[in-house]
Amino acid sequence: MGSVLHREVSSFAVESLTDSRQLAILKAALDALPGHVAILDGRGDILCVNGRWIEYAAQNRLSQCNFGIGQNYLAICRPAVAAEDADAQCVSRALEDILAGRSGREFIHEYLCPHPGDPSRDRWFKLWLIPFRLDAEQFVLVSHEDITVRHALERTGKLLDTAISQSRSGIMITNAAGEIEYVNQGFEQMTGYAAGEVVGRNPRLLKSGRISAATYADLWRTIGAGETWRGQVCNRRKDGEEYWEEMTISPVRDPAGVITHYVAVKEDITESRYRALLHAGIINASADAFVALDEHFRIVDWGKQAERILGWPAKKVVGREFIATVFDAERAREAQLELAVCRRGEFSRLVGSAHRTEMRRQDGSRVTVELWLTALSLQGEVRYAGFIRDLTESVRAEQILLEAQKMEGVGQMAGGLAHDFNNLLHLILGSLYLIADEVPAHSRSHLDNAMSAARHGAALVSSLATFVRRGESRLAERDVNQLIRALESLIRQTVGKRIALSVELQAQSSTVLIDENAFNNALINLAVNARDAMPRGGSLVIATGDSSAGGQVVVSVRDEGEGMPPEVIARATEAFFTTKPPGQGTGLGLAMVDGFCRHAGGRLAIDSAPGRGTAIELHLPVVRAGRAPGATP
């Protein structure tokens, strides 16, 4: 290089110029070079520097550090070399090699010159060491060129290159004629086509045929007008499978404003599109009302069912505060407190658990619902989503059941009394009859009075019986397996989602003589008890089996609840005995079930212990035994 420079300088050294003129030109040319240039002699001493060198030294207050002529370049480098500066070591070694005649080649090195205290003012330099000889004497031209800008561009270019080629998004670049010029790895993965298979072809090879011509027309109109088009299209992979992508196409113009290329960025949205459709489907198909709330509990989404249950049309409630909208003042206060608890990250009934509550409709009427909200963390922001279930029907059913239980309880009590009275009257009448022979004739009228009074008592009991027997049950042959199967869905609804109901009908002989309604009531009663015993959910098993002795079918309802201690078991079938809080049970449920069993000629058995759950067994005599030894001929 040194010799080249020399030749070039020589070449314009025309005869007419004097030596001093030539020197002046060379000096000016040296000053005009882009780098900071110094020329060293064979020992490394700086012979001369150009204007930029001096300028740079002045700007960086290095002029005081003897960067001037006459200093030895190696000596200048020495402190940095001693400080184990890798760049300085590398340059020093190269210069030493040149000066010692071990290398005659030019040496290039790029290095970073950090700015003390301000990294944004760091500079990149390209250093040249160019050895040259003049009359057998060794010289070295040292040039430091500031390449900070170019270096940054190169780095950015490399980064962009890597980013584009390795991006998971599909990137496709076509020329103005629509021929593919470039596709990245993301495109290859998304479409199944290798770059080599598509470069030079038209992107229409991806078309699935599902997108209307109008969409494509809109696309071409938009990008043809120099604007960016964004939309969702369904394309076809190389293997024939369809997928959905969200595509952004932007035109690229040359400096004259002419469109030369189109850049398309594609995201595969098949999965998210499917998920969105699925979510919409679930929300629409659900009998429950979907709601979504923002972090301030304002309504964001209000499903069709919510409109039906609460009367508020979506367009009127979206944006409103949820609690104030659906609760009356008192409940709203409670809900706000619970929300505050939830925001502290503690357990709250309002969020994260299903609970029964009363809401206010748009028209001011009340509706009993089950509200189930869950908190979602979305990009650091909390959102809430959940369902509102209309409990109107089940509340009505529960009330009817409760009333029926009360009535049955009263009837049962009256029945029990009548039974005892009948036994007493029977004993009185029978005994009077047996002693009648021995009663003297003159006392006979007293005996007759006593008998008449007892018979009168029997008549009173009988009229009580008429009351109690009102709506007397109808016994009929029924298959308990079939009855349970028919009741299964009702029970499932009654016990709710938290209870995993399983029905195991294993009885071979399952035909019994029972009152079907009473059986259904008994079974629902037991299921409700089981549900109430498992407030946090659990499994409920309704099973049938043949009794070990034969002749009976055993219908069992087993829960995983707390179980009962012996003293509770002993009183469980007693009328008006209950362990439930006031207002939640009549204490008649099990008494009724027990009455049903006795009615059907069977009995009720309880298998329970604290911590072991409870199984209630109904032992009912079968009337048509399948395999049992007591089979009817």
Partner: protein, 136 residues
């Protein structure tokens, strides 16, 4: 001729004795039982008539029927109950379907004459002593 044997089953001893007293009038020998063990032993004596109260605490009248069925008993069975014992209907059906010798049912309080009439109906009555008494 050997006197017929009647088994009176009831949890109330007074009722058992009352039935026994009526049985005596009708010319029966009688035994009584008020708990499962006693019933089991009494059935071993192969009574000709069983008067059974279905409603007994801690016991199931239907189990008695089942035990009779297992012993292939030919005893005439009279089912008695307090009026609320709706299970009588089931028991009767069961007894009939099981091929037992169901003789009739009596709801308490029944007139002693009704029981004696039943005995007569099923041809088990040796005397006609019931006619000597005033019917209540």
């Amino acid at each position: 001729m050997k006197r017929r044997l009647l088994l009176s089953i009831d949890d109330d001893p007074a009722i058992r004795k009352l039935v026994g007293g009526l049985a005596e009038r009708a010319g029966f020998d009688w035994i009584e039982a008020g708990d499962p063990q006693a019933i089991d032993q009494a059935l071993d004596r192969q009574p000709d008539v069983v008067v059974l109260d279905l409603t007994m605490p801690g016991m199931d009248g239907n189990e008695v029927l089942w035990a009779l069925k297992q012993r292939s008993s030919r005893a005439a069975i009279i089912i008695s109950s307090g009026f609320i014992d709706v299970c009588v209907q089931t028991a009767v059906l069961y007894a009939v379907k099981a091929g037992l010798n169901y003789a009739g049912r009596l709801d308490k309080p029944y007139a002693p004459g009704e029981l004696l009439a039943l005995f007569a109906n099923i041809g088990l009555c040796h005397g006609n002593r019931e006619n000597h008494h005033v019917q209540p």
